[in-house]
Symmetry: C4
Subunit: 238 residues, 4 copies
């Protein structure tokens, strides 16, 4: 994929995010990476989705230096870059303040895995980071937000859990490319809403059992997955 | 109805499901049966509703063998087939992960019958299955899900209760044909939402009394039903 | 207004109800009355809003005899007629199963008057009837539902409170004509939703004080009302 | 900006408010001020948004005398004028009965600052006024509502907190101009919804810490703000 194709894909992913209703105003941002050239294409900061064009997408290197583009990249760029550096197989990152996922992030709680809709997408609870330290806020806030996410995944496999809630903030998600990162954020919002209603019906509800989680996640993503049409069924590896 | 008309009807029912907002992405599936030929038309697995065409609808026999179609049938096909085998008068089955019905399924609770909207469609609480056994998950999961539903109806009449919640999963519904199965799933989502709000207003609320349930259900579905225009008023028999 | 104009207005009011999103499927019905001729125009029973035409609107007299129209009138016709007989100044009646108002009706609770939005439309709590008696259910259910509403208004003035919740069922509303009855049902749904969220934030919340209720209701509806443009400001009399 | 341009801008801001879904029927109103001429352009009272034209916008002076326009100005005009008199740097005011913000106002509670979405727009809890006194209701209600808001800001800086909840009523917001006032009311509704869901997940949730609030509010609005593209980044001064 050429860099101009990458910019086009990242543009489309941002528009998809906007049309899904997950972001309002200038909130949210999606990026994609060209691993060969180590270049990241990302939404410019504070630009309205209605006015966004493929040419507005900014190219930066993995250290955050602007390589192409007239506009400033997203203020969250350093968070994206930290994820690309730490999660070496991901190709796209999305960030939203979507209503229900953000509600869980604000409550500083992981989204429990209460049903098979959740298990179809996420292999267990969607984790929530701890609250960021004051020193990290003052130092290099967006970079430290990325490190906080990476720290949360020290004992988790980012291939099987493609989203995280940043405490007091909102969700980040990732995938093979920018489009998949957006699809994950859409699914995340759906299961965040489901989970809220379920705990309102029964506050003592617990995660589904491991056998059911395995069955649903792995029939879509594991080796021998049999959901869908394609030969290239997901194997759990991005 | 010819097999090609059946495929067209099942296609339309799937599109209706999508347009109703009850499913996102590739979730959900609707099927219809030709009882004469013992053939079931069902949505292909993992295909986006936006790209679905009548030709994509897959025909399978009651043992699950593909009879016509290029694509794989829905991964939930065996659940549908078990329902067709056990509930001999139904003509269509729909499965969704609709937001509110799924919330009740995840809470593993029947939807209480709190008002006449519910009673207009469902003759009492919409039941929730028990959680599927580990051995059933490992054996033939989708078939066993069907058996679980059938087991839940051992002492219930599927003619009067056209929907069920599969615990930790979501709703299945049925009807005379694929279109009615979808209409039932739309009504189910509405009453699932109503019921959630009602228990938030008063957690101690109870089912409506039998006399009121009878009145509403039977004026639409019983012998001597007087709701609507048609001479062929429902008699409670599918 | 001629009878054909009345039918046209009732048709438009039904369509307005549908477009407002307060009804799904064939639920809900709106009627209007010609007081001079003592004739009521009402939606036919079980007809989809998408297919409804002005010609489908049925004319009945105050005893429920069909005077004009090919279709059966709404199954709730007798409830409407009882309201027209008892509330001699109303010109239109609307019935919905709208989501939030129905949730309060199912909880068998009046909607508390928690703010000025409510007070702009309704002069105090929107009352909820008691649950209908078994003997009334068996006798002449729809007529008895009307009587139950009228009984609830024994010590209330229907000019100042243009809506009611029928316990375990849903809301009825009324007004000068069919269109106003629909507008009231739209406002009712809005304040029912507001009230639910308010009690979730603070379960101990109480009705607003009388002075604030008076101020808001009467600046729109009382003598000397100063809201809006028209000289014919509402005087609290329909 | 000429007075006719001001009327056009206020017209557009009112339409933006309507299209955002924050108001129904004739609820809500937006105004803008020409500080040079001390004239305020405001929506007429009780006019439907669908029928509103730029010519309908009414011009009044800061004492409330009509200077131009055929229609009566909004019944809330005196509240707007009090805000313009007390908050000398604001250029626009918006008032809605939006669903979630109104729910908090009805519960008579400030909206807690539970996350960075909130902190991106509002520098701390969005305050709620005390309930208006009976004497103020009887005297000059709309003027006194304005005074109540101003009183709530005695020890707050209206540059950093551009919205308020009037207890038992609903939100008012303001900004550099009419359009910004509407944008603030849209953001307010979003964070009011987020906050409701968060307290349903965890009723004991607390405001985010000062360091995180500062970081988010000030990166968008403080001196040295680095969010967005423009050189004219907000400095916290309107």
């Amino acid at each position: 994929m050429s860099l101009s194709e990458l910019k086009e894909e990242v543009y489309k992913a941002n528009i998809r995010l906007y049309q899904s209703g997950l972001v309002i105003s200038t909130f949210g941002n999606v990026s994609g990476i060209d691993r060969g050239n180590s270049l990241v294409a990302i939404k410019p900061s504070g630009v309205s989705y209605k006015k966004l064009t493929p040419e507005d997408i900014v190219l930066v290197d993995l250290e955050g230096n602007k390589v192409e583009g007239k506009l400033n990249p997203s203020s969250d760029t350093k968070t994206h870059l930290e994820l690309y550096r730490a999660f070496s197989n991901i190709g796209g990152v999305a960030h939203t303040h979507s209503t229900y996922a953000t509600a869980w992030a604000q409550a500083k709680k992981a989204i429990p895995c209460l049903g098979t809709t959740h298990a179809d997408y996420f292999y267990g609870e969607v984790p929530c980071t701890r609250v960021i330290n004051d020193s990290c806020i003052l130092k290099d806030y967006e970079l430290e937000t990325g490190k906080l996410i990476v720290d949360t995944f020290k004992s988790k496999d980012y291939h099987y859990m493609k989203a995280v809630l940043v405490a007091c903030h909102g969700p980040f998600s990732w995938g093979e490319n920018a489009i998949e990162a957006v699809e994950v954020s859409i699914a995340l919002e759906e299961i965040a809403e489901n989970a809220l209603y379920s705990i309102l019906i029964d506050p003592n509800i617990d995660n589904i059992k491991k056998s059911l989680l395995d069955k649903h996640y792995l029939r879509k993503h594991g080796r021998g997955a049999y959901y869908g049409q394609k030969k290239d069924n997901k194997t759990g590896q991005l």
